[in-house]
Symmetry: C2
Subunit: 177 residues, 2 copies
DNA sequence: AGCAACTACTTGAACGTTCAAGTCATTCCC
DNA sequence: GGGAATGACTTGAACGTTCAAGTAGTTGCT
């Protein structure tokens, strides 16, 4: 593409923007794949299942309702339901009817918690190897801020939720630090 | 998680690192989904198929061998083969035996090029709406540089390839301005 | 009390990706 | 010049995600 598009009134990206865009697209393609690969290889689960386990593990009684968990892991209810079925068949989580309505609670079992504690260090190590340790602290901070800004358009609700749980004071409103 | 991990000798992330990591992970999860959604809705294709079309469109004779195209779109040969079958069944690309060996060329048809020219502006608009226009120029540049640095670990070959085709001079070697 | 609307979840089929073969021409070697 | 190895794909099954129902409690209206 680049020039041959007959882009009436669409402003194409200038070289600097295009440069940044290409690398960003490449990263958002490659990074999830790399993280998934590590989890799959070392633990036999994917990133979404990992998020479920983590979400449950730091929740009171290691339990959450499906709908809240779906938000926490940022996936659809359907996707979550299938994933919970898989995890339950391995005995890592269990379903239990909750008090009201059709609501269901998912609980991280002792087995599940034990496995997560084995898995987590390796995943953190990978996060360091691929991202945290290859960037200078200020570069990492800038990356985080840019990611947050982008997310504010892509999924505003999620930013609100994250800001609430993580450093509600420190992480300002628009331009932390 | 956060504390309850019995992480012998694994250095956990400090609050600032964790903050950046959370937003980064959320972004690399949400951004591809958002881009895919726009393409699916407006054009009935996914990001990978779009990359194929773009790759072919600015290639001599709108043609590339499968293996080269797989590199350009950064996917496996198998994935590409399936995707090309889908695109071919819509008449957007065509397969042709190339000179040597079992090699196959894929060519963007006139129909395919026409469709791409209709599709591209909308995609650029989305890129602007979600990323390029919500960040200040220096923030975007920093994001691009960070992405490139991360990619250097995740898939070094790809960085080399991208640097070669895009702004070989301007995009220095380690810390482009 | 009866019925619609809503919320919370599950399920099955369709679709795209991955993974493990399978095919077929070419090249290298004895 | 036959046979193994290599390169360039294709194909089919398995798996996870999405999408469109389906199920089942709860609430609100009349």
């Amino acid at each position: 593409m680049a020039d041959e598009v007959h882009a009436d009134e669409v402003s194409w990206l200038d070289p600097d923007q295009l440069w940044a865009w290409m690398y960003l697209v490449a990263m958002v393609e490659a990074l999830p794949a790399a993280l998934d690969a590590q989890l799959k290889r070392d633990a036999g689960i994917n990133r979404f299942e990992y998020m479920i386990l983590v979400g449950l593990s730091d929740s009171p009684d290691r339990t959450m309702a499906m709908s809240r968990l779906a938000l926490a892991a940022s996936g659809s209810l359907s996707r979550l339901s299938h994933a919970v079925s898989r995890l339950a068949s391995r005995g890592w989580v269990e379903r239990r009817a909750a008090g009201t309505g059709r609501q269901m609670d998912v609980r991280l079992t002792d087995t599940g918690l034990a496995r997560l504690q084995e898995i987590a260090p390796g995943h953190v190590r990978e996060a360091r190897r691929l991202v945290v340790d290859v960037l200078a602290p200020d570069e990492l901070a800038a990356l985080g801020r840019a990611a947050r800004t982008v997310l504010q358009t892509v999924s505003p609700g999620f930013v609100a939720a994250l800001d609430e749980t993580h450093a509600p004071g420190a992480a300002g409103d628009d331009a932390p630090t």
